[in-house]
Each structure stands twice: as structure tokens, then as C-alpha cells.
Amino acid sequence: MDEIQSLLQGFVVVLTLKNIALMFTGIVLGVIIGVLPGLGGANGVAILLPLTFSMSQAPGGTTSAIILLSCIYWGALFGGAITSILFNIPGEPWSVATTFDGYPLAQKGRAGAALTAAFTSSFVGALVAVIVITFLSPIVAGFALEFGPPEFFAVYLLTFCAFVGMSKEPPFKTLATMMLGFALAAVGTDPVTGTLRLTFGSTHLLTGFDFLIAVIGLFGIGEILLTLEEGLAFKGAQAKMNIKVVLETWKELPKYWLTSIRSSAVGCFMGIVPGGATPASFMSYGVARRFSKDGDKFGTGIVEGVVAPETAAHAAGTAALLPMLTLGVPGSPTAAVLLGGLLIWGLQPGPLLFVEQKDFVWGLIASMYLGNIVGLIVVLTCVPLFAAILRVPFSVIAPIIMVICAIGAYTVHNSIFDVWMMLVFGVMGYVFKKLQYPLAPLVLAIVLGDRAESSFRQAMLVAQGDMSVFFSNALVGSLTGLALFLLFWPLMSMLWSKLRRGI
């Protein structure tokens, strides 16, 4: 099997002292980022991305850089569970569903069991997703090598229409933020003709809006402002972790194998189509409650209620990298930031990556296996340490996080104007979150805007402006058709429910 061969080659790339050290650093940083309010996977990676510029210049440096950043992502995924279970505060949106049963468990004095179950099922979810990536991504990439501009535009269209059709936010709010993202991406130089547009004579806007600034503002500053509303104190349960609790919980876990399989499947699916980890965790929790024989006990503090959302969230978060690597279409905001990193390091995400950058791709995939093992060990052994971070009062932590965000925004282009923009995006994130305007489509649109536009215009050039090019063969036709179906899904389901009420 080619994949196994390539994967072994990837392990050879990863298993150097430097890369293992970076892995540990990334995981620890990631867990801290996941635990702190206002710092999460997406903006944590965004803040640290500029620091990898110089790292990526060395030979093999891009692999080291992606290992560091992706491990921060895994760490953040693990870290979210700690705050949910011990403090009833979801550190990340995808761990909201973990609080439903995790916090009651902690109140019953079983925090150790809840944490062990959460970490272990996170690991299982991620492992399943990495295996899926290992064997599915070469196939998808090979398939995508045949893609021309119309096909790529159809994939972009599908991604964005999926947001409209599948998000729980009102469809026109999703559409509005998404289009705002495209408009922000259009600011600056036209990628095809080089004409300036939407700059209104401002020199700051010549290069357009950087998505890193948007991510740091929307997710970082916005999140802190939201947290502030809740007050300034955190109250949490104590976690007693020892080898006995871990082993006892591990003995209990195999009972939930069916829940694990179901949740992994839900997670992988939601991660590959751009649904993301957050809906995956809710969906998986709902499915587990419906099918479990202890369904009515969900919410009172049972281990199965922790296993289901955590497995799905981690599987989705990991699987989101598959479309990012193979098609250049990220499935989540964090994957979008990683994609931005690839572009900055001079790599072209997409199917060619699997041909031209074999070491990079397989190094990354191998590091996913190792990173999650390292992550499991780190979180199981260091939970009390990470929980202690949250006992630092908010009046100390909040300004320090603000400073980190400001430095992160500044280092992107060494410009103070960007720091102001970060603040504007922060207020925007705060208001949008409260009014149910989704942020993920906005970020993805800023990242993909130029590429989507270029592929659209190239397709139009080839077809002489004939829109039917998007239905010209079976492949592009079914992609476009599926996209339109998802786009009009909210409308159809509304009409359907009206019709039924009419009868």
C-alpha cells in the first residue's frame, strides 16, 4: 500500500529531536490557549503564525512550522474540555456540549473520571479522523488533480452554500456575514487585472484586510468582551487525577464503543463538509441521547454524555484538515488559519501538494498521530497545572490576553493600523455573536475570497461568460447542483413545514 509507505516516510521526517520538542511545545501552548478565555484554536494559531515566518525559511522548516501550529490546534481541542468539566465554562465553542454532563460529573466528585473520559475519547475521535485522512486524502487529491477552474469554483460554492444550509443561525444572517467577508477580501488589488478597488484612496487598504487580524479580533477580543458580561470570577471544582482513576475510567470506557463509533462518524463527516466541530459535538450528543439505553439520564452527569460530544468534536476538528490539504478549502476557522499559514510559507494548498510536497504532507499526517498521543499524555498528567491557570483572576488574565492579541495583530504586518482594525473586529465579533451572526463563514470568506473570485473569473473567461459552464459535465454539475440544493435548503424546509401546517 502506497499510503503506508508514504506514512512511514512521514514518520522519518517527524522523528527528529527538534520536531518532537516542537510537538510538546505546541501541545502545552495549545492546552493553555484552549483553557484561557479569549484565546482559542483559531486566534491562538493566528497570533503565533507570524512567529513561524523565520522558522519556515530553513530547509524542512515548513514541516516544523506546521507541526508546531497543528499541535497548538490539538492542544486547544484538548484544553477546551478542562474548563467545561471543571468550571462549567466552555473554553471553546465545541466543548459547550461537554458541559452538559461533564460539569454535573465534576460536582458529584467524579471530575477525574470525566476528564479521563473526555481526553481518551478526544484521542479516539482524532485517531479515527487521522486514519480517514491517511487513506482518503490521497484519493481525494488524485481526483482533484483533474479539476479546472469551474470545478474549483463549484467546490468553493459548495463550501459556502453548506454554511447557509447547515448552520443553525438565520440563513440571511449567514449570507450577510459571508458576503461581508468576500467584500473585505475584495478590498485592495484586483487579483486578475491589478486594478485598485474599494480602497477609497487609503494607503492602509492597499493590501486589503488580512484575515489574521480579523480572526484575532473576532475570536479574541470579541470573546473577552462576552466573557466580561458574565462577571469577573471563575468558580471551579477540584480535579483529583491519579493513575487509579484513569485506569478505572479506562475499564468503563469500552462499554461505550457504539457511541464512540457513531460519534466518530458524525465528527468525520461534519469536519469534511464545512460544518465544523461545534455542530458535530451537539449533533453527536443528541444522537447518543436518543440511541443510548440510559438516554433519560443524559444531563445528570454520566460518562457517556462526555464521550459522545468530545469524540465528535475532536474527530471533526481533525477531519477539517482533509479538505484543507487536498482541495485548499478549509472546513473550520482554525483550518482556514492553517491554510493561510501554508500560503504565507509559500506552499500552494490543493491537490498538487500531494505530488510536489510529499515530505510536508506526510510529515504533517504522521505528526497528527504522534501529536495526539503526546497530547493525551500531557493532558492526563498535567490537568491540575492547567486548571490552576483559570484560578488566576480575570482582572489579571484579561489585560494580558489583550496585550497578546495586540502584539499578535501588530506582528502580522508591523502596522499599528492593524491593531486598530483588530479592535474594530473585536467589537464586531461581540455584537455579531450576540445577534447570532455566525463568524466562521466570515473568516472563511476573507481567506478564500480572492481564490474563489479568481477561479470564477477564469472559468468565465474560458466559457466566454456562459454560466452553463458550471453544469457542463457530470462532476461540476453535481457539485453545483448540490451547492444550490444546500443554499435553498432553509427555504425549502420552511415551505415544507408551512405546507404541513396547512393540512
Partner: protein
């Protein structure tokens, strides 16, 4: 009224929805305006520069109008508090100093500004004793200085204090 914690609302949802929808509409209008200036039609060599943004602007405006109508149609019971006076005070008490902080960065450098910013927070919201305030705020800036200037060699904005110490 169904208020979360029973505080006095500063804004209600309908106001917030309306304002945000109006801002969206204005942004969409700006995009349409500039795209129209650049031309949004077809030429022999394909779509003009404004073609793509023009339709983006149109969709923004249409969505904004629909969101505006949805916001105005909110029933009285659903028109709950968007942000309470107390919450707004807390949020502004962070936002305003942060804006001042960003303003100061260009003037006195990021390290001194950060130290002042952290100190203000700890003293004002956290009511810490002065020695704790000084230790954390100065220590924090020192750590960042070491990380960025020495370890990563990424120069951040510096001001008169660094110049005085000859660290520029």
C-alpha cells in the same frame, strides 16, 4: 419582560438588530458604489474588475433588508435586553482603556503601554495592592520584551523609555 438577571437594559434586541442591519446595508451600498465606478459589466476579455464585488454588494444589501425586517418584526416578548446597563459599563470599562492603549502604542511603545494597561486593570478592576500591580505589569512587559526582541528577533514598537535605556 424576560431579563436574564433583571438588570436595566441599555439596548434592546430590536435596536441592536436594526443598527447592525443598517450598517450592513451601508457597507453593501459602498461596495456597489465603488464597483459601479470600476465597471461591473462584461468586456470582450471577460468580467470587469467590479463584476464580482458588485454582486457581493447586492447580496449584502438584500440580506440586510431582510434582516432589518426580521428585526423590526420581533414581538414585544422577544424584544429582550440586548445588553444591560451594568454589563455595558463593564464592557466599556475594558473597551475604552484598550482603545487608549492602542493609541499609546505608537507614542510610548508597546512595552510601556502594556505595562500601564495591565496595571490599570489590576488596580481598577482587581483592587490589587501596588506592589503586586507593579510586579505583574512590569514583569509581563519584560517577558514579552525578552521573547520578541531577543528570542524571535521581531522588533515591536518602542518609545522614549527604550531610547533612554539604549535598547532601540
Amino acid at each position: 419582560m424576560t431579563e436574564g438577571s433583571g438588570g436595566k437594559p441599555a439596548f434592546r434586541y430590536r435596536v441592536a438588530e436594526t443598527v447592525v442591519a443598517a450598517v450592513f446595508f451601508a457597507l453593501g451600498a459602498i461596495v456597489i458604489f465603488d464597483s459601479a465606478r470600476l465597471g461591473f459589466g462584461w468586456r470582450e476579455d471577460g468580467p470587469q474588475t467590479g463584476y464580482f464585488p458588485f454582486y457581493i454588494g447586492v447580496i449584502i444589501c438584500v440580506s440586510a433588508l431582510i434582516n432589518l425586517m426580521a428585526g423590526l418584526a420581533e414581538t414585544k416578548e422577544k424584544n429582550r435586553s440586548f445588553v444591560e446597563v451594568e454589563q455595558l459599563k463593564l464592557v466599556l470599562s475594558v473597551l475604552v482603556p484598550t482603545a487608549v492603549y492602542v493609541g499609546l502604542i505608537g507614542w510610548i511603545g508597546i512595552y510601556v503601554a502594556s505595562a500601564l494597561f495591565v496595571a490599570l486593570f489590576m488596580r481598577w478592576l482587581g483592587k490589587y495592592t501596588w506592589w503586586k500591580v507593579a510586579a505583574v505589569s512590569i514583569g509581563n512587559s519584560l517577558v514579552f520584551f525578552l521573547i520578541f526582541e531577543f528570542w524571535f528577533r521581531i522588533p515591536l514598537p518602542k518609545g522614549p523609555l527604550e531610547a533612554l535605556l539604549g535598547l532601540n
